[in-house]
């Protein structure tokens, strides 16, 4: 059972929850108020939903041995775009306005994902660098859209996306559930998942085997952009405003962290969506726990750093070998940096 890949992430999550239970016994209590469910667990799911969404997209990108650094910027851009088009319209609460705003923002996020995909698959640029461009420029674009200010919208219908509730649960949880189910079904019940993993192992070999590597990569980056776009909508609608400078800041790092904690290797070729889900929940639970214990929230970063290091060390063959006293058995020099030395190989 220890061998199971979800064992350690689940242990961490269980440990965190156990700590919360001991620290404050009413952590698990869920109350019914005005037809909505309230409680820390619901909060974790609700506030964690944008992160889970971004991490789902990121998992697939990392599975193709890529990485998408631009998700944070895409979050900011889509939030800004949606809020701008709503604030420009005459009736901010008209259903048509909201639908057009949401659709255009999602379209834009898919296009941004496509742009990343084109750079990676079309021009063969290293993913880190290709998406770094949008990461740097994207914040500028988001601020350009909002004109450097925080756009506030007054629209209960738009607010529903991030703060509304359906069947007594926050609506955002349903968005996440649908996206997660869609991603799992598409990748595990069709051959798509196998294609993605095969492209992640070796794009050239996959192409020779008859897989359209480039199309798969384009699709994956578009999907990641779309996920980030949805997260952007949830985040901006939750606070009914768009902040080009701070929305989605450091999201790319949290998402990558969630993916790595979930057991997906950054080398690509394998991915575990359930692991990612647990990884994202661990991060959100950690944040909630830190707030609850009353430690200054800034120290979250230190804790995060320790978690990243611990997870990385546990995943490292050499370190485990060292713990067992058998010495390292990891092959030297199996990093992406090393493997990317000759992208034409």
């Amino acid at each position: 059972m220890i061998k199971h890949r979800l064992f350690w992430p689940l242990c961490v999550l269980a440990g965190l929850l156990l700590f919360n239970l001991i620290y404050s016994p009413d952590f698990f209590s869920i109350k019914m108020r005005d037809g909505h469910l309230y409680g820390s667990l619901i909060d974790i799911l609700n506030f964690g939903s944008p992160l889970i969404l971004v991490a789902i997209g990121m998992t697939l990108v990392i599975a193709t041995s890529g990485i998408d650094l631009s998700v944070g910027s895409v979050v900011a851009i889509t939030g800004a775009m949606a809020c701008l088009s709503i604030s420009r319209s005459a009736d901010q609460n008209a259903l048509m306005t909201i639908l057009i705003a949401v659709a255009s923002a999602l379209l834009l996020s898919a296009l941004l994902g496509l742009w990343n995909g084109l750079l990676v698959a079309g021009f063969g640029i290293q993913p880190i660098i290709a998406t770094l461009i949008l990461m740097v420029a994207g914040r500028g674009i988001a601020q350009l859209i909002t004109n450097g200010q925080i756009i506030t919208v007054l629209s209960p219908k738009y607010q529903y996306i991030g703060a509304g509730s359906l069947f007594t649960l926050p609506f955002s949880i349903f968005i996440v559930a649908v996206m997660f189910a869609a991603a799992s079904l598409l990748t595990r019940k069709t051959a798509l998942g196998l294609f993605i993993e095969s492209v992640g192992c070796k794009p050239t070999a996959s192409r020779l085997a008859g897989i359209r590597s480039r199309t798969v990569m384009l699709a994956v980056y578009m999907f990641c952009g779309l996920c980030a776009g949805m997260a952007g909508l949830i985040l901006s609608s939750n606070v009914s405003s768009a902040d080009g400078n701070n929305a989605g800041l450091w999201y790319e790092l949290d998402a990558i962290l969630a993916v790595v904690i979930g057991g997906t290797s950054l080398n690509g070729g394998r991915f575990y969506l359930t692991g990612t889900l647990i990884g994202a929940l661990i991060i959100q639970t950690l944040t909630t726990t830190i707030y609850m214990v009353g430690v200054p929230p800034e120290i979250t970063l230190v804790v995060k750093a320790v978690v990243v290091l611990a997870v990385c060390l546990v995943q490292s063959d050499k370190f485990r070998g060292l713990l067992r006293g058998r010495g390292g058995r990891g092959k030297a020099g199996n990093y992406p940096a090393n493997r990317e030395v000759n992208p034409h190989a």
Partner: protein
């Protein structure tokens, strides 16, 4: 015959001259030696950090902890000075902390096969978090030595001046060029970045080189932090937030390949200068907002990466 490896370098230098000329034609008062000197004064810390980053990227890695390390250095310096520690202890202390920090990251990357991206990401979180552990507020510095360093102007011919930080930065650049091209460590770095496996088979000290590269980057970022402290005269956890991106962008615009093995410290110098010129032009323009800087830098990044790609493909075509 011009070697192909110098083409990105020439493009960088050419672009800098072009941007500066464009600014000079468009705005009165732009074309002066002092504007050029101000580029150095305002970007000296960026320059120092970028030299360290060049080595890391040439070795085939990446260091995301630069910006946070700068912040941590300003924070530690400020809090120690506040408690009455003398500068001649504080500065060597923060520099050695930087080396220790970088070396630890390098050792983790090498011995435990953790991707540089993730390991330095953890370093970034850790350093930024430690800043807040020290204090969440700004700590101002009124130490005599620091204010002297901040305010001393070194007169140059042509009625211009530079700060002491500029001298430090230029020395670091000179040292970087020397180490990269005239020492064994420099050659090893290029070899490891070109192909780690080959470097190992050739009997080069891969482990030592990789760890030292990150140690050097740590030293550079803590030195950049010291210079940044001179510049800001305060310690604050939000200082230099996101600066790692500026540094990486400067290195790439300077013609260093992010795949490793190819790059010049000299190019990095001009990469930093190009960023400075863009900022200066935008501030001279007045109507353009600061976020245009990021967009322009993003576009430049794209152009340079495409250019490198083009050159790389031609080189490959010739070889086959």
């Amino acid at each position: 015959m011009l070697k192909r490896q110098y083409v990105p370098l020439l493009v960088t230098v050419g672009l800098f001259i072009l941007l500066f000329a464009a600014g000079s034609f468009r705005y009165t008062g732009f074309f002066s030696l002092q504007v050029l000197m101000n580029l150095l004064i305002d970007n000296s810390f960026l320059l120092i950090a970028a030299v360290g980053m060049t080595f890391v990227i040439v070795s085939g890695g990446i260091d995301l902890s630069v910006g946070s390390m700068i912040a941590l250095t300003t924070m530690i310096s400020a809090s120690l000075l506040q408690q009455g520690w003398p500068p001649y202890i504080v500065i060597p202390l923060v520099l050695s902390l930087g080396i220790l920090f970088g070396t630890t990251l390098g050792a983790m990357i090498h011995y435990f096969n953790i991707q540089p991206f993730i390991a330095t990401l953890a370093g970034m979180f850790l350093a930024r978090g430690l800043c807040y552990v020290i204090s969440i507020n700004t700590i101002t510095i009124d130490n005599a030595f620091y204010t002297t360093m901040a305010q001393t102007k070194i007169r140059l011919p042509g009625n211009t001046f530079v700060s002491i930080s500029v001298i430090i930065a230029l020395l670091v650049v000179a040292l970087g060029i020397y180490v990269a091209h005239y020492t064994r460590f420099g050659r090893n770095t290029y070899a490891v970045g070109g192909n780690e496996q080959s470097a190992l088979l050739m009997g080069l000290p891969v482990a030592r080189t990789k760890i030292m590269v990150y140690g050097f980057s740590g030293l550079c970022s803590s030195l950049a932090g010291v210079v940044f402290t001179f510049y800001m005269l305060s310690g604050y956890g939000l200082h230099a937030s996101g600066m790692e991106l500026d540094v990486i962008a400067a290195v790439v615009i300077g013609g260093t390949l992010l795949t490793g093995g190819v790059g010049f410290v000299f190019g990095t110098f001009f990469g930093v200068m190009i960023q400075g010129v863009i900022q200066t032009i935008i501030s001279f323009e007045g109507t353009l907002s600061s976020w245009w800087t990021r967009i322009v830098i993003g576009v430049l990044l794209l152009l340079f990466i495409l250019l490198q790609k083009l050159l790389g493909e031609r080189r490959l075509a010739e070889r086959s």
